[in-house]
């Protein structure tokens, strides 16, 4: 079985023609800065874009051979949670403060109770899920505010995994957590992913997190995927999109001692008013005349795809 996503959407130019393919049991990392359209992409896959504001105007999302865009809302509801589930960035706000942790997990299970399991079977599953994410089951009667940030994120993960989904979309799952807790949660997530045989889309702004956890990487900038490939392409490949180079230049490197960072000048363009040609050209150190007028086509080296005139020219 192959899971394929093919999106080509346009939401106030938040996401602008992106193509992604994710195979089963793989982890795809989507990297980009604030406003790059990462979350919009994730919400589009689940068709959870805010109504009246967000709209997918073009393209397909193919999941297990079926197009999700044309699917009925009732079918979609089944897909959400059961087949694809989502972990949100902020564990503090994604849990309901007036229900106990156990109740919230139970609710998720009950909603997708296709096999007509009995109440006690569901309860047993709740305990099992909590143990799985490393929370003692006797804490299930506690309320979210009694948990720390890391523990809450574990609960969120337990809820997301409750129905054994095929795909988990994790939107910055560890950004709100401390480093040591982040390490715990990430380690647990990749362990569970292998154990349960899921695919995962990991959305983050942290290249370090990607390097440690993903099989494939897509770098997003201003609603487009400027570079994607398998992990080795991005971290060890020779050719890069100038934006990717800029991102790497911005991270203080622990293994080397440099005194100056090499950041990218300027700011992310306004999504309402994107520059003509390559969207990155106003900030690009390798900008050429053609970049200002013509949108670069994807240029591929095997598994590695880059959208850049400069890379294309120097490799032809």
């Amino acid at each position: 079985m192959k899971v394929i996503y093919k999106t080509d959407s346009d939401t106030i130019c938040a996401v602008n023609g992106i193509d992604l393919i994710l195979d089963k049991e793989q982890t795809l990392g989507i990297v980009g800065e604030t406003g790059a359209g990462k979350t919009t992409t994730a919400l589009s896959i689940l068709r959870l874009l805010p109504q009246d504001i967000g709209e997918i105007t073009e393209g397909q999302i193919i999941f297990e051979g079926k197009d999700l865009i044309s699917a009925k809302e009732s079918d979609m509801r089944k897909v959400r949670g059961e087949k694809i589930s989502m972990i949100f960035q902020d564990p503090m706000t994604s849990l309901n403060p007036v229900l106990t942790v156990g109740q919230q997990l139970y609710e998720a299970l009950e909603l997708h109770n296709t096999q007509n399991k009995s109440k006690s079977q569901l309860e047993a599953r709740v305990d099992e899920m909590l143990e799985l994410v490393g929370i003692p089951k006797n804490r299930k009667r506690e309320y979210p505010h009694q948990f720390s940030g890391g523990m809450k994120q574990r609960v969120v993960i337990a809820i997301a995994l409750a129905c054994s989904p095929v795909l988990v979309i994790a939107d910055e799952p560890t950004t709100a957590l401390d480093v040591t807790i982040q390490a715990q949660v990430l380690a647990m997530m990749s362990e569970l992913k292998n154990k349960l045989g899921m695919s995962m889309i990991l959305i983050t702004h942290d290249l370090g997190v990607v390097a440690q956890n993903c099989d494939k990487v897509a770098i997003m900038y201003a609603g487009e995927i400027v570079e994607n490939g398998i992990i080795e392409d991005i971290f060890e490949g020779v050719n890069h999109h100038p934006y990717t180079e800029g991102l790497f230049g911005s991270i203080p490197d622990l293994t080397r001692s440099t005194k100056r960072l090499n950041p990218i000048d300027g700011l992310m363009p306004d999504p309402i008013n994107l520059p003509a040609g390559c969207t990155f050209h106003p900030r690009c150190p390798k900008c050429m005349d053609i970049c200002r007028t013509k949108k670069p086509e994807p240029f591929s080296f095997g598994s590695h795809v880059i959208k850049c005139h400069f890379v294309q020219n120097s490799n032809q």
Partner: protein, 317 residues
């Protein structure tokens, strides 16, 4: 003798809560020489921000001294303190919350100058605001815009310009880049390092991000639950971390390179415990890999293991 610009002695700050005393800062001694940067690292709730605020006397310490240029500033009255304040400034974490949304950029930058009545002439004041904006790399066209119309990076530049307005010698930087995107983060870090060189500034750089702190600091102090567990020159700390907590912190950083990918990382279990009425002994003991019965005993202090490298751990007594 090289006298430190800023020094604290046995600084303590307890907050009274219903459950007991919260030891936010407990017996912290720091000294920063002029023109140097001390990085303060720790997870949320370890008291690093409180430490910064106590040093600036935005919070009153429970016990201890803060010595600036050889004078204890804790017992100064309001007026004397205001003179010292001009020399000590703070840059805040959240550039969204730290700027008054009702003021324009030029008003925000001019505010400290007006408050301290340094420049009275209006044109001269304007000139000073322009100079400051130039220093931090803000375009003049922004003078009369409001902060909410700008992005995070530019707002943080306003915050830096405001901190620089009084020509301070010492700046507490409370997580100045953690709310920013990586590419912007690097721009701001470069700016701060340039400013340090040009103006001979002394920084106390508070952060939770070890990779950022290595980059900018001369010396690093690692805090855990209000206490300093390890203090060493930057290179030394990264090359030779001694305290188990420092090691765990370093291990937990995801590194953007594939070489480290399959390395087995030691991940510490558990979470930061509450600093309310802490038990005697090492506060990290409950999460430590090397915990022994002896760790519960009191009387642990910082020990100098090598030149300038201090650690508070039973393993290095």
């Amino acid at each position: 003798m090289n006298m430190p610009l800023i020094q604290t002695k046995n600084l303590k700050k307890y907050f009274r809560t219903q459950k007991g005393d919260l030891h936010a800062v407990d017996n912290v001694n720091i000294d920063i020489n002029k023109g140097k940067t001390l990085g303060v690292v720790g997870e949320s709730g370890c008291g690093k921000s409180t430490l910064g605020r106590v040093i600036l006397r935005l919070l009153e310490p429970t016990f201890g001294e803060v010595i600036y240029n050889g004078n204890d500033i804790i017992h100064l009255n309001q007026k004397q303190m205001n003179n010292i304040r001009q020399k000590m400034q703070i840059i805040f974490q959240d550039p969204y919350a730290s700027l008054n949304p009702r003021m324009t950029v030029s008003e925000i930058i001019a505010e400290p100058i007006k408050v301290c009545k340094i420049i009275k002439d209006k044109e001269e004041l304007n000139q000073r605001v322009f100079d400051l904006m130039k220093i931090v790399g803000l375009d003049y066209r922004f003078i009369n815009t409001y902060p909410h119309e700008m992005d995070g990076g530019r707002r943080q530049r306003i915050g830096i310009a405001r901190a620089l307005a009084l020509n301070p010698e010492f700046i507490v930087c409370d997580e100045p880049v953690s709310a920013l995107d990586v590419s912007i983060q690097a721009q701001i870090l470069n700016l701060m390092m340039d400013l340090q060189e040009d103006h001979g500034l002394t920084y106390m750089f508070i952060t939770h991000d070890l990779s950022v702190v290595k980059h900018i600091s001369d010396e690093i102090m690692v805090m855990y639950l209000g206490q300093c567990v390890e203090k060493a020159p930057s290179e030394e700390l990264f090359a030779n971390p001694l305290h188990p907590y420092t090691q765990a912190l370093l291990d937990a950083i995801p590194i953007a390179s594939l070489k480290e990918r399959d390395k087995l990382r030691k991940i510490i279990k558990g979470e930061v415990t509450s600093p309310i009425n802490p038990k005697p002994g090492c506060r990290f003991a409950s999460r430590c890999f090397h915990v022994t019965a002896e760790c519960k005993n009191d009387g642990l202090g910082l020990v100098e293991v090598s030149q300038g490298h201090y650690v508070s751990c039973i393993l290095h007594k």
